[in-house]
Amino acid sequence: MSTPTIDRAVDERTYASYARPLLWRLVATREFAVFALLAIVYVYARGSIVGFDGPLTIYFLFLESAPIMLLALPMTLIIITGEIDLSVASTMALTGAMLGIAYTKWDLPFLAAVGVAIVVGLLCGLVNGFLVAYLKLPSLAVTVGTLALFRGLAEGFLGTESISGFPERWTDLLKDRIGGDSSYPLFVIPLAVLAIAFGVLLHFTTFGRGVYEIGLNDEAARFTGVDIARTKLILFMLAGGVAALAGIYQSLYTVARGDSAVNLELQVIAAVLLGGVSIFGGRGSLPGVLAGVLLIAVINSAMRLDGVRGEVTEIVIGCLLVASVIAPTLLTWISGLVPGRVPRPAAPPSVGTTPEPPASGGSSLKS
């Protein structure tokens, strides 16, 4: 069947690709703000905090923040679609426990036990994904439920036990450094590969375009043929799978126990939001989130080295999170006070939804 040849030999109007020069486009974004902040804090720490410039700093920094970095990758895509997953830390604890049980109680070879843990992680993601994508339940309520459910299973399976008899070969592999003595642990390689994979998935694939469109306007996304339910299901299963990797990492790094990684999900969400991702969805990028995770890791490490007690760090991170979210609104308010500026039209102050100028001509009712 011949498609009608709609002739295209019309005088090509010239369209510029970008409205702003490259430099400006890079600088005037939230991601750049977080990177700049990371640089400022890092340089300041190296300068004035004793021991921060030692060889071990980077090494321990990565070892400690690896789970948060891992979990932040799928969480970024989930929040960009406007959903959220509070159950990642519980999934991590459950999959870590399963690794221990499969390896020590069922006597499976280590790699088989890793397989079991990953499958359990994917199953947890499937539960979340099915309830949110296909039953259309609010993800906040669902993942509060699965947070308690998976944590309960992890504590139930392990009870008072803590399993740590994993093969030396693997636990050492975790601590070895790249090229023998560089200050980067070996684990950074798989971490980097995963980060690049998620970066490409989000920014350079049609799947990633769909993720943004779901976050910005899921009804329009459906009209262009984006399969919203399938996309969300895949994202939640990815979150489950990556949480399994983090669970395995944690069990090898310390020990497999029911109460590990408690409240870790809140730190992951804080890092993602600090990285410039909007909780309403539709805005945010992976490089920004990596910067957010590193920023929190550097602040933690620097403050600990400086002898600052843990709770002060918590205060700083809490305030940073609040500041990063209200900074734009605060600025428009301050700039509004500056005399001589035309105040913005009094858009209706509806909480939570951003007011937009209505199109001329009311949309006639279709029902």
């Binding site: 005037a28 300041y44 021991g51 700093t57 321990f60 602040i299 080295l305 002898g307 600052v308 700083v316």
Partner: protein, 348 residues
């Protein structure tokens, strides 16, 4: 475009808030825990800098042990910093602090371990940069020296002895422990069970519950214990937080006086319950002395006076001489029994 300009100024505000917060904390001397960060450069001779890591901050028992170790530090011219996880005592929460100490290259680490094996990797990394590692109160497998408040057997038999004569030698008893994986707790419970089978045939241990060293959980577990076993005679709680919560519940319930309670408790917390008769007697050791001894042991290791093998001896200030026992254990002494007669003399 307006929107772009706003983001640029968002950058300015963000940078400002972060650097202000950091400078404020950087210069401030880090709260009330003594002087500035570790002086670095420990190693042989000279003043040794010691980092003390309790199970978690906010536990008065460890506040006393830290005070003891700081008292010792003044005597041997060293310096002790107390760092540690806040809130939950998960297995992985102490690791970052051990690593930070390794980065600072402190002289010695004095740790009360949350888990027998979880810390081994990071402790070995510390030992690689020849940091001496002393555990106290709760042991781990990979350390130079373990300063035990009393030998486990002594602690177990003392508590069984106390509960036995409080319940008249017969009946059901239960144990309210701390965290499910706490090394010292499980060790004592094991020894208590052996002691019961051997010497107290008609006392039987009906249940062991875990309060996770949390007020609310210990309180509710005690209530559940009493409800699940109506004819319970006595409760043993080998943890200061557990025994205080249990006493608090008992003093407000109908079981006061009917169910005996003993275990390891801090005098300051237990004083009200000794006075109102809920608890007749309990044992403990002086955590202040424990911290004091642990600091001296660490200092001796750093100065090279001892190397941790069996038979080495060192003097621990006014506590006198101590010799290192089998597989590197130094015992503070026998647990001390507190009751209404001597409760008022102590303030820790």
């Amino acid at each position: 475009m307006k929107i772009k300009k706003r983001r640029l100024s968002a950058l300015a505000v963000l940078a400002l808030t972060a650097s202000v917060a950091l400078t404020a904390c950087g210069s401030d001397d880090g709260g009330d825990d003594g002087d500035d960060g570790g002086s670095g450069g420990g190693g042989g001779g000279g003043s040794s800098s010691i980092t003390m890591i309790p199970k978690s901050l906010g536990n008065p028992y460890f506040e006393a042990s830290t005070a003891g170790s700081q008292r010792a530090a003044e005597e041997f011219g060293g310096q002790v910093d107390e760092v540690g996880p806040t809130g939950d005592a998960g297995p992985d929460s102490q690791v970052p602090f051990i690593q930070t100490a390794t980065q600072q290259g402190v002289g010695a680490l004095v740790v009360s371990a949350n888990d027998p094996t979880a810390l081994c990797d990071s402790i070995e990394q510390a030992q690689d940069v020849d940091i001496k590692v002393v555990t106290f109160d709760s042991d781990t497998e990979c350390r130079d020296l373990f300063v035990s408040q009393a030998d486990a057997q002594g602690i177990a038999t003392k508590q069984i002895e106390l509960i036995a004569d409080q319940i008249g030698g017969a009946g059901d008893i239960a144990i309210l422990s701390a965290a499910a994986n706490a090394t010292n707790q499980n060790e004592w419970i094991g020894l208590m069970e052996e002691d019961l089978e051997a010497n107290y045939p008609d006392i039987n241990l009906v249940d062991t519950v875990y309060g996770d060293d949390d007020d609310q959980k210990s309180f509710d577990e005690t209530a559940a214990l009493l409800r699940a076993n109506p004819d319970l005679k006595g409760i043993v709680s080998p943890t200061t937080v557990g025994i205080a919560a249990a006493a608090r519940y008992l003093s407000t319930s109908e079981f006061k006086g009917k169910v005996a309670l003993t275990g390891l408790g801090a005098p300051s917390q237990m004083k009200t319950f000794i006075d109102d008769g809920t608890v007749t007697a309990f044992a403990l050791w002086n955590p202040d002395d424990l911290g004091y001894l642990a600091a001296f042991a660490a200092d001796a290791l750093v100065k090279g006076d001892i190397s941790g093998e069996e038979g080495d001896t060192f003097t621990a200030g006014d506590l006198g001489d101590y010799t290192v026992g089998a597989d590197g254990v130094v015992v503070l002494g026998d647990p001390y029994v507190f009751d209404s007669s001597n409760i008022d003399e102590f303030d820790f």
